[in-house]
């Protein structure tokens, strides 16, 4: 009898969560597209035709779809790099910098161990990417763990340092004979494998697998439980003997490592070389997406798909209907705005 009364509320909580999540995302997407449609009408374009263009150019062809996947790959990883520390109430704004340092470490590996076969070189580069990101994250994490400086501000400020270091390395040592701002193409063994003749690379699998592992880890593991306890009430967790400082260090550095891996994926899989200022804000986009969906892995996947779809579609829209490309930023901003307004739906529906 007691068994039953215990289990019934758990089921309904899960069901309610699924229902509210679906309703939430559905409303968010519909509302942002409606708003953008009004904007298109206002500037004299046919919104229906524009949306048709966006969707046929992205979802309508295998190539378009693959490009959406390509641009969501790094964001999956940086989103996770932010989501993991957010579970113990740490705010990692430094994914961008960690991504740069991770990419730099991986590039060093690619240039140094050129002779190795792919099955050795790729894992080495991955480890180096993880290590670079973790080291860069260690600075704010350590300062936070000794109670000196808030991790938010230090990780944010380190973002502007990291690209300078990469600039120094590339301009100073690594540039190819022809260029000053990029390395030579990596050898084939240093390239992540791609699928089906598209630009989709193994990094996508890293992202999806890590997100699922993260979800399972938080839900089922001993450390996930302790992290949830810290996230809910750090002081009580400390009194219960959970080592708060260790968690701050380990979790934040792990987040950094994952962002570093994103850097490795982009250098090795996307560009196949390293260039200065190679990130187009992947770290920041990951931060935005992770916080918008509250660090929820499924949400990160859904949201980064939507954002990537808008971006890719925007490129095409500019060509086909002469809409200025910057307008796609407006659609993106509207989407983010609507997602932020989410609490009002949620409350209204309860």
């Amino acid at each position: 009898m007691a068994q039953q009364t215990d289990i019934v509320p758990r089921k309904t909580i899960v069901q309610r969560w699924i229902e509210s999540t679906i309703a939430r995302y559905f409303y968010m997407i519909v509302l942002s597209f409606l708003l953008f449609g009004l904007l298109l009408l206002f500037i004299g374009k046919d919104p229906i035709q524009s949306y048709r263009d966006i969707f046929t150019s992205t979802l309508g062809s295998p190539y378009g779809f693959s490009e959406v996947i390509v641009s969501m790959t790094p964001v999956l990883l940086t989103g996770l790099a932010v989501a993991l520390p957010s579970k113990i109430m740490l705010i990692n704004v430094g994914a961008e910098g960690q991504l740069y340092i991770g990419a730099a470490f991986a590039t060093w590996g690619a240039l140094t161990f050129q002779a190795l076969p792919a099955w050795q070189l790729i894992p080495i580069m991955m480890l180096l990417g993880l290590l670079g990101g973790a080291l860069w994250a260690f600075i704010p994490a350590y300062l936070k763990s000794i109670g000196l400086v808030n991790e938010t501000i230090t990780s944010l400020l380190l973002n502007s340092v990291a690209p300078k270091i990469i600039g120094f390395l590339v301009f100073g040592f690594w540039h190819s004979a022809m260029d000053t701002n990029k390395t030579a193409r990596f050898v084939q063994a240093a390239r992540l494998p791609t699928f089906f003749g598209t630009r989709v690379n193994l990094g996508l699998i890293f992202g999806l697998v890590l997100l699922i592992a993260f979800w399972l880890f938080m839900k089922y593991s001993r450390w996930g439980l302790e992290m949830r306890a810290i996230g809910g009430n750090a002081q009580a967790a400390r009194r219960n003997g959970i080592p708060l400082k260790t968690y701050i260090l380990v979790v934040f550095c792990t987040g950094g490592a994952i962002a570093g891996l994103a850097g490795m994926v982009q250098a090795s899989g996307y560009y196949g070389l390293m260039l200065t200022n190679f990130s187009v804000g992947w770290g920041f986009m990951g931060f935005l997406i992770s916080w918008l969906v509250g660090g929820d892995p499924i949400g990160i996947i859904v949201m980064s798909f939507i954002v990537s779809l808008i971006y890719s579609g925007g490129n095409l829209l500019q060509i086909t209907s002469g809409v200025p490309y910057s307008i796609i930023n407006i659609l993106l901003a509207l989407t983010l705005f609507v997602v932020l307004a989410r609490p009002s739906f949620a409350k209204g529906r309860k």
């Binding site: 009364t5 593991s221 809910g232 009194r239 959970i242």
Partner: protein, 523 residues
Amino acid sequence: METLVAHQSSKNTKPPLLSMVGITKSFPGVVANDSINLDIYASEIHALLGENGAGKSTLVKILYGFYRSDKGSIVMNGNEIQIRTPSDARQAKIGLVFQDFSLIPTFTVAENIALFLTNLKAILNLHSIENQIIEISKRYTLDVDPHKLVSQLSLGEQQKVEILKLLLSNARILILDEPTRVLAPHEVNALFMVLENLKHDGYAVILITHKLQEVTGFADRVTVLRKGKVSGTLIRSELSEEKLIQLMFAKKLISPIRQQLLRPASEKFPVMELRSIETHGEGSSIHLKGIDLDIFPGEIVGVAGVSGNGQKELGEVVLGMERCAHGEKLLFGKDATHWSIGKVRKNRVAYIPENPLQMAVTGWLPVVQNMALTRTWLYARWWGFRLDLNKMLNDARRAFERLGFEVPLLFVPAMSLSGGTLQRMTIARELSFDPRLVIASYLTRGLDVQSTLAAHKALLDTREAGAGILLISEDLEELFSLSDRLIVCFEGQIVGRFKPEETNPIEVGHLMTGSKVAYGSTD
């Protein structure tokens, strides 16, 4: 003792300025005010005396419109009035000085006061306000420079600004909530000079305090609250510390329910030793000074003291939450001064904090997971990547059942439990792993009679099993009936050490309230 109650009506001829009649207010799990009657007269300082949690603050918050009473009425000059919001209270010329002031640091004194006035014009005439401030501050020796920024003022000066604020807004009844808490000794006297002057000009002053000297020195009338009820009202001529302590604390002693120790404590090694411990707490928290304390196996050491005198810090030092700035701590014979809390906990130290929701549990995690939180490694399977939910459930149920507590729903978030259930949950969790040392703060807060008995029995069983217990409480009945030894904390120091049978609540009450510092029998 009952003769102490309700003297005033016969001795007072003038009608009260304000009466609170039959005020009752309950919060989930506790009746904070239970049909309280209070008469406030003009030209009097009326002290509200009582321990923390006796209901003083609730009563005053009802008067100032923060809370609404469940029952009862407020009568002013013979007419019943409704006070629903603080602005109603101000309309009725009632003013309150908060414990934590409500001034804006970057504003000047005059600007802060102007902000508070209800009849403020669209265009500020700060000059006239400044003149009023100077005039009033001269009359009552509340000297404050109106041009100064509040951030440049000492706490004592800020309090003056708070009082000036009320005077300028024409309040006639001034409520001061523990005003001397933030003041240095010489400032305390100055404050009471001001209050005396205000009294002579016809103001009514309500003074909330738990310090006896203030009451005996300055109050014209004292109402003592205990556990939400008025335990007595005295006028100045009847005042004595003796009587007040009797009213504040329990009147009779409950005979100890414990059995004698099996062996004399001194034959064993202590489970915990503190050697001249000092702490430097952050902010306003109290600092411990020169704490020496041993706890032996199979012994309950009771810590008496009015809340905020270092008992919480004492418990936190033992746990390791508060760092020792000086001195050393030994647990089970080993130097534990720099142990992590995790290590302390692994050595089977149980901690039952004063506020479980804040200090013991993660509110939105289900009860069963909160129960497992202190010892997650017990439930780890697959090298920690899975938790054994069935074992967690069984252990949680057993933890409740062995103490005779009802098992609550285990899958609801801990914060949805009532205060008493949450307390039972914490006790069940902490006593489930056969602790060797127990730190228990306010063990029975929020518990009903039956659960209180069960908790006491559980504590005594733990003691019989050989654990050392540090029992922090304000309930002297509880301390006297459970403790093998008793210490008294006042302002971060241990000011008394007794065996319960060698002392009495009056003496302990004296020490708790700092009415005199003396040392009883040391051991």
